[in-house]
Symmetry: C2
Subunit: 311 residues, 2 copies
Amino acid sequence: MINKLVDKIKKTNAPIVVGLDPMLSYVPQHIQKAAYEQFGETPEGAAEAIWQYNKAIVDAVYDLIPAVKPQIAMYEQFGVEGIKAFQKTVDYCHSKDLVVIGDVKRGDIGSTSEAYAVGHLGKVQIGNTGYAGFDEDFATVNPYLGTDGIKPFVDVCREEKKGIFILVKTSNPSSGEFQDREIDGRPLYELVGEKVAEWGSTCMGDSYSYVGAVVGATYPKQGEVLRKLMPKSFILVPGYGAQGGQGKDLVHFFDQDGLGAIVNSSRGIITAYRQVKYKEQGITEENFADASRLAVQDMIADIAGALQSAR
Amino acid sequence: MINKLVDKIKKTNAPIVVGLDPMLSYVPQHIQKAAYEQFGETPEGAAEAIWQYNKAIVDAVYDLIPAVKPQIAMYEQFGVEGIKAFQKTVDYCHSKDLVVIGDVKRGDIGSTSEAYAVGHLGKVQIGNTGYAGFDEDFATVNPYLGTDGIKPFVDVCREEKKGIFILVKTSNPSSGEFQDREIDGRPLYELVGEKVAEWGSTCMGDSYSYVGAVVGATYPKQGEVLRKLMPKSFILVPGYGAQGGQGKDLVHFFDQDGLGAIVNSSRGIITAYRQVKYKEQGITEENFADASRLAVQDMIADIAGALQSAR
């Protein structure tokens, strides 16, 4: 799947991923209204609203991008009905040939971590048949529990040719509380980065490992160090746009050939219809998905420009 | 909810929690057969099997214990159908007046962490109504992202009078890879423990905080240190039984009055029917739940004995 991701990035010339993180408050009124008319102001209605919202955005941008990253928390908050909408979203994105990165940040130990890996990336055995659960292509994973938590994911990735992105240096302001603490003169995130490289060395795709890393756009200097520490790990970069990261901050997350990283934007794309910039181009709440397309095009141009001027 | 947990521990004299972590392979054949006859060898059938298995165990032990801890990974592996079985299990345990600790190990940042907190412990607003998602009483949370990841949970806990247990020192062999690394001469888990105490100081129950900690039974010395570092934090202790922890290892996780900790056993209780010890007492696969009851009684006696001889 890392090979497919790289291929699709080359084809689209877009090292970006659209974060499908639908808060109910983001969903345009006409979509909410239609969903509530059908299912009431209930979790079922809310789940229908976010699903229709996702679908319209995916339809508007799928040909421009290699991948999407649904954030499962935004679905899980609606309970079982939300999880159904997550599943529908994953399946629909696959039908559009998009690579799906499940932003699930799971992490546990032994057979429990294996159950997460199986549920999100693999197949669970029931009688004589293997059934895929959520069936994403990649999942994000938390490293705090060490190798015991990661190995079951790596095993499933090897079997299914899928991948994971392990949290190394997260984009949030307080990520340094533990991640930046110095151990033998080096920050914890570097030790985690070295482990990512080590875990990843056991399952290589053509040019990158099945095991990648999450490093926030808001920490460009740390990104530069980590890029070198994990030469074969693809870096998933959150924090672009709404969280403050810009194209020029991202240059050092990439390799010389413009590969090696994929940059996520969620709110910047899915709520683009609220930005003055796009309203001035004739966007209204009704044609919100057109704004998402414009925002994707602008993001691609921003990153391409930054990569070009860095060369 | 921490007050209810403490009350129930006092009433039952049982500082223990039963881990409802149903692997399909644990479920006795007659239950699997009945479920498959109704729903086929499908995720729906598997979900029915684990639900019936849980229900029988809960019916057999609920009067002896204060709390259960379903591990959501074991349900999530079956996709949407598994999640429905998780929900059913939580609801059923509530109907038996058990405190439910959702072992979900979630952790993200900002609005995403808030969505997890809302989905598991709070209510999501849809139109004019707040809907509970999974509605556990406590959730386990991963600290790697720092305060940004924890604060949204604490806010929801304060509002709903619920609680969290934050991973501090996990029970697995490789937990030391990052958690034991020394920072200014002290292991990372101690720094995390100090933060747990700090976060918890803002939301106190009668004698303990809404914010507790997870510390593995397999690390008794570390438990002793952490007990002192976090005097107001209840400690959830996994790793008893199948993972190697014994009653005598647990003494220092408790306060002088025998409170302050709750010990989890999963396999040791739910697969007790496979142990020679219980087979010799007339247990067969058919009456598996009776073995769970015997195992709970033995665990209570083991811990009570250890606490008594330590005094």
